[in-house]
Symmetry: C2
């Protein structure tokens, strides 16, 4: 199947998930705590159900791995990887920085990725070989010049709580103290900023496969670098952004 | 002059500044460094010029204090306090969380405040005695219950760099380590979240008079508490949000 066709399908899915999420924001939704105490809403469930139903109808042989429901067709050549609402805590509190993550891998290789921010009206996406886009505009990251003083760049990290989840809070504290322009962005919003060069790079720790799969296509297609620093069980510790900023950070983590 | 009338004028100004900022985002703008090395754009200047021109025409006797130009009528009974773009760095980088701050004081007392986020399409405002609003909906903050474990709440702080400006980086480090759900928000976006209860409270350090004047009306009108912890020269260190969360934080700063 052609990446262009699969990308179009993924974008169509994101149109649908955005509609559902906006409707939930207008009409309200119920929140409950999951077994790990993180919140889930009936909107998370409704969006993932919608995505699964559409995908199963269009691509009955494909696999689906999503945050909220059991895996489907685990051995399949094509695997869709879904997070209906990344940043549910933000979603429940009226903080508009959450997003929907839709990714497709073929034989484990990143093929298509979409990050959609329904409340911001922002979206970025990419497909292997077809480039990366933010709100319809092609994004080509300009790397830092050789020898650039990376510590003077605006760099980003996820919340300290994410570092804590994988016992790496000292990494946050060290970054915080040594990078005068470090900013903190929760969830996939930091990836959107890194893919478009708004920040030089982001250090994002303690995230799951559905939080990285879209960016694993989008960041390299934008001319950036996506690196997994380590994997601890189901959690990935990552660095993503402009190649020289990522290299510089990797040496310091 | 009636608060309702003055609020309407402030909201009309925010409509105008939003148009100018959106146009600058569409068409592009020039950035240069100010003497303190922070960035300023021709959009910052154009917006403040617009606000000053409108105010001088409508209220020739009023004072105006703005970030980018000299003070006007410093002794006047009514003082408008303006920050055309709070978060210029975000604005220049495509990070949609910056905002325009418009406030009015009468004899030093907060009377009207508006925080407008042009790229988010969000706005909050208040006038003394008339309540606080976010996007047209009345906001009435629900305080934490007595005895609530405030350290379990989602609380916010500004960037560590802001604490550094006033030599208080250790306050950030302490908050970071002791509050498992601390989030970091730059500029006035954190105030918007605190006014609507999206976070329990925000600790915002190293900010200027034009960064606090709008919130000094909005937060109390929403049922919250706005406190100045200390003033160091032109910089204010503040805590704002739900009353019990603010009290709890004040004891620990």
């Amino acid at each position: 199947m052609k990446p262009r066709f699969l990308l179009r399908e993924a974008l169509r899915l994101a149109d649908g998930s955005r509609r559902l999420i906006r409707r939930a924001l207008d009409r309200g939704f119920k929140v409950r705590a999951k077994s790990d105490k993180s919140p889930v809403t009936d909107a998370d469930l409704a969006v993932e159900r919608f995505l699964r139903r559409e995908l199963s109808r269009r691509f009955p042989d494909h696999g689906i791995l999503g945050e909220e429901f059991p895996e489907r067709n685990p051995g399949a050549e094509y695997q869709w990887i879904l997070d209906p609402i990344d940043g549910t805590l933000s979603f429940t509190r009226g903080i508009p920085l959450f997003g929907t993550l839709i990714a497709l891998q073929r034989r484990g290789q990143p093929l298509v990725g979409v990050i959609d921010h329904p409340a911001l009206g922002e979206r970025c996406w990419a497909a292997a070989g077809l480039g990366a886009f933010r709100n319809g505009r092609r994004v080509i990251l300009k790397d830092l010049p050789p020898g650039a003083r990376v510590e003077r760049e605006v760099l980003a990290a996820c919340d300290r709580a994410q570092f804590s989840r994988v016992g790496r809070e000292k990494v946050f504290d060290r970054l915080s103290r040594s990078l005068p322009h470090l900013r903190v962005y929760s969830d996939c919003f930091g990836h959107t900023l890194a893919m478009s060069g708004a920040v030089g790079a982001m250090v994002d720790y303690g995230i799951k496969i559905w939080d990285i799969a879209a960016s694993q296509v989008i960041i390299p297609e934008a001319g950036g670098r996506f690196e997994i620093v380590e994997r601890l069980g189901e959690a990935y510790n990552t660095v993503l952004g402009k190649p020289r900023a990522v290299s510089w950070l990797l040496k310091r983590l």
